[in-house]
């Protein structure tokens, strides 16, 4: 675990997402060039408090593709997925679980590279200072999930419990959804929940930008690597570019995005 943390410590969420999404939009030159803005959906991975980040991202993407881009946020994963499947969005960065659930209606546009691989992990976190060694010690907890359609924030833990021939309702005393990975961390840190399921990269990033909050939690369990949440588009939508590997975004370090370009996402898997 210590090694895994060491690998993650240099990453910031802004850098991952800014670099990744910027590169993804560069891979959408064949989208309809009508005057209407490009509608790009975001799951609650982005927080309501990230208004400035979203505005900066929107402006950046618009400049990169020379078209207005409108980022669309909804409260749940389900709402974004539904909009995407209904062709109400040009593309969306969704979670792997709803992508698999709606595989027939969606096409993969791109997958961010996180630490040089399109992979990430799910964490189960508890309050800092709690003496619990295994997943079994969490039995009877009040457990906070992120979203019913979140791979790391729900499905991974559910799968883990299934391996123990348990379900959330039988293993935990009570569960609730916070509809946001940051909210899971808040719920656990405050004591509202005894434990929670959260995206590993979100926890890593928040440890850098909100150390006071994250220090109230500790990682109890790390899952096996899983596919990183993809950028998807509805089948039948505009034709996308052929598959290619995008290099590091050369504009990121010079544009509105602060930070060292070397720490931006190492790449982007795009599917045409």
């Amino acid at each position: 675990m210590r090694a895994a943390r060491a690998r993650l410590k240099q990453v910031s969420r802004r850098r991952v997402l800014a670099g990744g999404l910027a590169t993804a939009t560069l891979a959408m030159p064949t989208l309809a060039r009508a005057a209407r803005p490009v509608l790009f959906g975001l799951t609650p991975v982005f927080l309501d408090s990230d208004i400035q980040l979203i505005a900066d991202l929107e402006r950046y993407l618009s400049r990169q593709i020379a078209r207005p881009v409108q980022l669309v946020k909804r409260r749940t994963y389900q709402e974004i997925t539904s909009l995407l499947v209904a062709n109400q969005l040009d593309a969306a960065w969704i979670c792997g679980f709803p992508f698999v659930q709606n595989r027939e209606q969606l096409r993969l546009v791109a997958v961010p590279l996180y630490q040089r691989a399109p992979l990430y992990r799910a964490y189960i976190v508890t309050r800092a200072g709690r003496e619990s060694q295994t997943i079994h010690s969490l039995r009877g907890d009040i457990h906070a999930f992120s979203d019913p359609d979140s791979n790391s924030g729900f499905l991974a833990t559910r799968s883990l419990l299934a391996g123990l021939r348990e379900s959330p309702s039988t293993f935990f005393a009570r569960t609730f959804f916070t509809f946001g990975h940051r909210n899971v961390i808040r719920a656990v840190a405050s004591g509202l929940a005894h434990s929670g399921s959260v995206d590993g990269y979100v926890w890593d990033v928040m440890r850098e930008i909100e150390p006071a909050l994250v220090s109230g939690t500790r990682i109890q369990h790390i899952s096996e690597p899983m596919g990183f949440p993809p950028v998807a588009a509805a089948r039948g939508g505009p034709r996308l570019a052929k598959r290619h590997r995008c290099g590091p975004d050369q504009h990121a370090g010079r544009s509105e995005w602060p930070g060292d370009p070397r720490h931006v996402a190492t790449g982007w898997l795009c599917r045409g």
Binding site: A173, R174, F176, F177, R186, A187, S190, G191, L192
Partner: protein
């Protein structure tokens, strides 16, 4: 009887500032109460408005989460509102479902989701007591949907700031009012002392009047004549001058009376001496003519002895009575007997019956001269007032404590003005009624000087009783 420490005995310069201070304290207490009551009302109203707005905001945001019984969303609302209401300082905030279980709490570690709400979070009095010694009060808001209760918000609010403001205000009021009270008391003392200074000086001069003399205030100490104090001082000086002149006049009159009395008694003595002179001369002629006859010579010698004895008694009594102030002897029974010769002479002259009782004991320690003067005045007055053939009683008795002089007559009774003069001690030291005799004025002065008591009975007739205590100041100082 007023005790030594009774406030009425305190100096006016102390009492007046104390009264000012007490008034200030009373006013300050009343003002402080008004201010604190008003502050308490304003704070209560402000508290109600603030907590009302806080609970309104929470209840609006919590409505949906409570209906859906979403712990996270309810907690999220509480957590986000934590710093939104700067005027409210919630310590505990609970979202409680109708079954009294906690849906969410501001401090979920202490009040976990699903736990039973603590007893203290039950709905209590509707009007929170902001003077609660614990410094915290509970407020509640019931959440309803369609007229049905779906939950409630219970919040424990820290009112330490409110109480601190109240306490600060109270101490500020106490400090300011205390300082003002001291200041005004000091100013009151200064002003009153300065204002009363002329009055106090006048009072000291008047106090000396108790010693029987009024000393005029020197001119250089007189305030300007157009001031109240100046007018009062000058009136005092005028009164002092008038009283001084009257005293001098009375002394002159008394002296004249004494001389007149002396003349009367000189005349009486001459009469008393003249009466036996005829017999004496007859006796002398009898001796000259019949000196050889032993029987006649013996009769003449007897007549001579009786006549000369009478003359000697008269002269001796006169010497005793009129020997003057140089006589400082203690009263003796012989003094009383000497008086008898004088009074008997007057009684005989007026054809009166004189009953004389002399029971002066050995314990009498009073001075002889003023007593003789007083007794002679009263006895002669009694003789003068009695009709011919009337009876005059004179009696002197004494024991260890006092000497009692009793004189009665069968006259028409003592006139009212004379009676008033005798009975009013003040008049004996300050003034004399023109209608009353100087003899009585002298008696009144002696009675006053000796601190004796005088009682008068009648009419019919007049009975005077003077009781002179033995343990008295030196009677030799009397007139």
């Amino acid at each position: 009887m007023i005790g030594v420490f009774h406030p009425q005995r305190w100096p006016l310069a102390v009492r007046a500032p104390l009264i000012v201070a007490l008034l200030m304290i009373g006013i300050a207490a009343a003002m402080s109460k008004v201010v604190l009551d008003r502050l308490a009302r304003d704070q209560a109203q402000s508290f109600r408005q603030l907590t009302g707005a806080y609970l309104d905001g929470l209840s609006t945001a919590l409505h949906s989460p409570v209906i859906r019984q979403e712990p996270w969303e309810a907690f999220d609302v509480l957590d986000r509102a934590r710093h939104k209401y700067s005027g409210v300082n919630p310590r505990i905030v609970l979202v409680i479902l109708p079954n009294e279980s906690v849906l969410a709490a501001l401090d979920p570690a202490t009040y976990p989701v699903g736990s039973i709400a603590p007893e203290k979070a039950r709905i209590g009095r509707s009007d929170p007591d902001l003077s609660d010694p614990g410094g915290r009060v509970w407020v509640h808001r019931t959440l309803r949907e369609g007229g049905r209760e779906i939950g409630r918000i219970a919040a424990e609010i820290d009112i330490a700031n409110i109480q601190r403001v109240r306490s600060d205000t109270l101490w500020t009021l106490l400090g300011v009012n205390g300082a003002l009270t001291l200041l005004f008391a000091g100013l009151g003392w200064f002003v009153v002392h300065r204002t009363l200074r002329p009055l106090l000086r006048l009072s000291s001069y008047l106090a000396r009047a108790g010693d029987g003399r009024l000393e005029p205030i020197p001119d250089h100490k007189l305030p300007p004549p157009d001031t109240e104090a100046g007018k009062a001082y000058r009136r005092y000086n005028a009164a002092a001058l008038a009283i001084s002149e009257r005293e001098a006049l009375l002394h002159r009159l008394a002296d004249q009376e004494r001389r007149a009395l002396l003349g009367r008694y000189a005349s009486a003595i001459a009469h008393e001496v003249n009466n036996p002179l005829g017999g004496l001369f007859n006796a002398v002629r009898m001796i000259q003519r019949h000196g050889d006859d032993p029987e006649r010579r013996e009769r003449a010698a007897t007549l001579l002895e009786r006549g000369l004895t009478g003359i000697r008694n008269i002269v001796r009594a006169s010497l005793v009575v009129w020997r003057g102030e140089t006589d400082d002897r203690t009263l003796t029974s012989g003094d009383i007997e000497d008086l008898r010769f004088l009074v008997e002479s007057e009684a005989l002259r007026r054809d009166l019956q004189l009953e004389w009782t002399n029971e002066l004991g050995p314990h009498s320690s009073i001075a002889a001269q003023p007593f003789r003067q007083m007794a002679l005045n009263l006895a002669l007055n009694a003789c003068a007032a009695s009709p011919p053939g009337g009876r005059v009683c004179f009696s002197v008795r004494s024991d260890r404590d006092e000497t009692v002089l009793h004189i009665s007559d069968e006259g028409p009774g003592l006139p009212a003005d004379c009676r008033a003069m005798l009975l009013t001690a003040a008049s004996a030291t300050s003034a004399q009624d023109a209608n009353a005799g100087l003899g009585l004025w002298i008696v009144a002065r002696i009675v006053s000087d000796q601190r004796a008591t005088l009682s008068i009975e009648g009419p019919p007739g007049t009975a005077l009783t003077v009781r002179i205590p033995h343990a008295q100041p030196d009677l030799r100082t009397a007139a």
